[in-house]
């Protein structure tokens, strides 16, 4: 068993943080990499990014939004309990280089995925502007952490309850107008990433995105996670999860993410009835 040593709720309980004891993974993990977790014998294999890790204490942290049966099941696990299986580190680590000004755009739980990358970008000597957004103030996560990880944090909420009133893309536009941006990293819901890349294409700024396609093994063995990038089929689990956003077929990704909507609902409803 992989023990949960710390559990914290965020964004009014819709987002949960788990610190998990997994020393071998913690020793190796790099920003951008993920793990696959399975809670129980009958459970599903679920990929989650490592929001931070500590090689000394052997801890890896996941921050996940409760969206369906498996994440709801994960959220019932208490400190001292744990996951039956955790495997990783999976995926390629993000290339972290000194480029100049880098903009990190995170939406929803994408902020959790973005956090270690932002931090590494700053440590590599870049000037890092972070833009994070959520539907409203209560759903915003990791504001303090992102502030510390970047030089300049810009916050937006869809409903204007906090920070800039509007979408992250509005703030991104202002930033692209005002600064000499060398790289944009955009991580969040698929529509957000799609709009971010659409905008940066206009400004001709290289953009990396992190793709959250459905996965099974996470080792390149099944092809479940395949995505079209520049007209070629790539496996997000081993060739990614980061890709050049200007080449990604986001519409195909959205459709593939809906492969099991009906069954997922059935499963979630059943789980809610049982608990």
């Amino acid at each position: 068993m992989f023990e949960i040593v710390k559990r914290k709720e965020m964004a009014q309980g819709t987002v949960v943080l788990n610190e998990i004891k997994a020393p071998k993974i913690a020793a190796k993990a790099k920003p951008g990499q993920f793990v696959i977790l399975k809670a129980t014998e009958t459970g599903e294999r679920i990929p989650l990014t490592m929001a931070y890790t500590n090689p000394e204490t052997g801890i890896i942290a996941t921050i996940y939004q409760v969206v369906g049966k498996s994440t709801a099941l994960f959220s019932t696990l208490k400190e001292g309990e744990g996951y039956q299986d955790v495997i990783g580190p999976l995926g390629k680590a993000m290339d972290i280089e000194k480029l100049g000004t880098v903009v990190c755009v995170g939406g929803g739980t994408g902020v959790a995925v973005m956090h270690p990358i932002t931090k590494a970008m700053k440590e590599a000597g870049n000037h890092v502007i972070a833009i994070i957004g959520a539907r409203n103030k209560d759903l915003l996560i990791l504001e303090e952490e992102m502030k510390a990880a970047s030089h300049d944090l810009r916050v937006c909420t869809d409903d204007g309850s906090y920070g800039h009133h509007g979408f992250v893309t509005d703030v991104l536009k202002q930033t692209l107008e005002a600064e000499d941006v060398k790289l944009v990293v955009g991580i969040g819901p698929v529509p957000m990433m799609k709009f971010v890349t659409k905008m940066t294409r206009e400004y001709n700024v290289k953009t990396l995105v992190s793709l959250n396609s459905i996965m099974v093994d996470g080792t390149g063995m099944c092809g479940c996670c395949r995505v079209s990038v520049g007209g070629e089929t790539r496996f997000a689990c081993v060739d990614g999860p980061e890709f050049d956003g200007h080449l990604v077929d986001f519409d195909e990704l959205s459709k593939r993410l809906q492969a099991y909507t009906d069954m997922e609902q059935e499963s979630y409803e059943k789980f809610k009835c049982e608990t």
């Binding site: 294999r45 099974v216 093994d217 479940c224 195909e252 459709k255």
Partner: protein, 474 residues
């Protein structure tokens, strides 16, 4: 001798090959229980009595690991089932599995002298019987183990190849740890081959047997990512065996292949078998249930996928294969079982594209009729398209089972390992040694997708070489 044997043959051949009882096709196509039910003691002894006990048994030449076939059959004839299984174990540590999945018609049974005029001895059924009998009624007594040598061996991959190495070396007194990337051990035996052909309980029992001998099975560990080969050496392992299989799916590379409802056989079968999607929602992993299913390819993997789809409740399951019946690589028994279960065969048919709806789900495909032309590199007649023969088929679930390649995850992280042009690890045939010192390899990662027994056989060869190294030197 020839004369005498001929006579013996006549006398014994009167008894027909005993038929193993199996679930009826119309029943089994709705469940995942094993199809053949096994021999009773009586059937087994009757079948064993057909064996002529040849002095120069042809069957043994056909067995990749040279089991003394007449030897173990004789013990079954005599009703000494314990000695029969012990006899098999000398050459093959996975008889319950091999008895079920080996392509006997191309191996031992294909060469059995009785097959010349009539039906060969049912060697596979007898092997299975001996193993099952031991599993059900055996003492469970462990084989003798050599004194601990203090040497440590890391086996990467828990398929038949790795398990064979682990079993051999633990008995020779070495400490063995098996590393497996999945959360369960067994390789293709658990994630690929379905329950109705190889009950998972049998694989679990083999793993349990190894654990009782002292083998450690460490799941959830990606060698090459979580730990590198050099780190394993640093941790104190003296030798490493790579049995990582051929885990890279091949696709058709035709338009529309990323539509929802199109799976590689690896994904489809992993969801169904390892993740038990056929028991959704009791198990959490979902799987698209098709009405009109198309499975591409005609090997064992294709048959397994087609028969799984049938059991998941499909109306039509079609095997689509671009060559003719004679070239179908699957075991005869499986093709036969598939046909009995109502699976349709579209031979000399090649897909050209998939058709989808607005939601991005597959709804159909376009195919071409083929005819056989000149022989190709493999000596098989090359299928060539018939002009203007395009036709459409409905299809809401497609499974692509046209072969596997070498997964580069481990090999990429270990540059000292020399690979051939297809990415498979180069290993010496007689020892299993790779180009990296103290590293051996065997099974599908060396040969490309092959068979359980060849993977196990390669494991046996390597374990001997590893033992020599640990006792004498490289």
């Amino acid at each position: 001798m020839g004369d005498k044997q001929e006579k013996k043959e006549k006398k014994k051949d009167k008894l027909p090959r005993q038929v193993m009882p199996e679930q009826k096709a119309d029943v089994r196509r709705h469940n995942f229980d094993e199809v053949p039910l096994g021999f009773t003691e009586q059937l087994a002894m009757q079948e064993a009595s057909r064996c002529l006990q040849c002095k120069k048994p042809a069957c043994v030449d056909g067995c990749p690991v040279e089991i003394d076939i007449p030897g173990f059959i004789k013990y079954i004839q005599e009703g000494d089932f314990t000695r029969a299984i012990r006899h098999i174990w000398q050459k093959n540590s996975l008889p319950a599995i091999c008895g079920r999945v080996c392509p006997q018609e191309d191996q031992c049974e294909g060469l059995c002298i009785l097959g010349k005029k009539g039906e060969p001895v049912a060697i596979g059924h007898l092997e299975r019987f001996a193993a099952d009998h031991e599993r059900h009624y055996g003492t469970g007594q462990l084989p003798p183990q050599a004194k601990a040598t203090g040497k440590r061996v890391a086996v990467v991959g828990s398929g038949p190849s790795g398990l064979t190495v682990a079993g051999d070396l633990i008995q020779k007194g070495h400490e063995v740890t098996v590393f497996e990337v999945f959360h369960k051990g067994g390789g293709v035996l658990v994630y690929g081959i379905p329950e109705f052909r190889l009950p998972k309980e049998i694989v679990a029992q083999e793993l349990n047997f190894l654990e009782r001998l002292g083998v450690k099975i460490q799941c959830n560990e990606v060698i090459g990512k979580t730990t590198s080969l050099d780190e394993l050496f640093e941790e104190g392992y003296d030798a490493i065996y790579l049995g990582v299989g051929a885990g890279l799916p091949r696709f058709l590379n035709i338009p529309g292949e990323n539509l929802v409802g199109i799976y590689s056989a690896n994904e489809y079968l992993t969801r169904a078998n390892l993740m038990k999607a056929y028991r959704f929602p009791e198990y959490d992993t979902p799987l698209v249930k098709g009405r009109d299913v198309a499975v591409f390819g005609a090997g064992n993997v294709a048959m397994d996928s087609a028969r799984t789809a049938m059991r998941m409740g499909a109306d039509n399951v079609r095997i689509i294969y671009r060559r003719s019946r004679d070239e179908m690589p699957a075991r005869q028994a499986e093709i036969h079982h598939a046909e009995e279960e109502g699976i349709q065969f579209y031979l000399l048919t090649a897909p050209t594209k998939f058709i989808g709806n607005e939601q991005g789900r597959v709804t159909g495909m376009e195919c071409l009729q083929m005819e056989l032309g000149e022989p190709d590199d493999s000596g098989r007649r090359r299928p060539v398209p018939v002009k203007g023969s395009e036709f459409e088929l409905d299809c809401d679930l497609a499974v692509i089972a046209v072969g596997a390649g070498a997964n580069p995850l481990l090999t990429q992280s270990t540059p000292e390992l020399q690979l051939n042009k297809w990415g498979y690890v180069i290993a010496d045939e007689k020892s299993g040694k790779t180009t990296k010192k103290r590293v051996w390899a065997g099974g599908d990662i060396v040969t490309g997708a092959a068979t359980v027994i060849l993977a196990a056989g390669a494991g046996r060869i390597a374990s001997n070489s590893i033992h020599d190294y640990l006792s004498v030197g490289w």
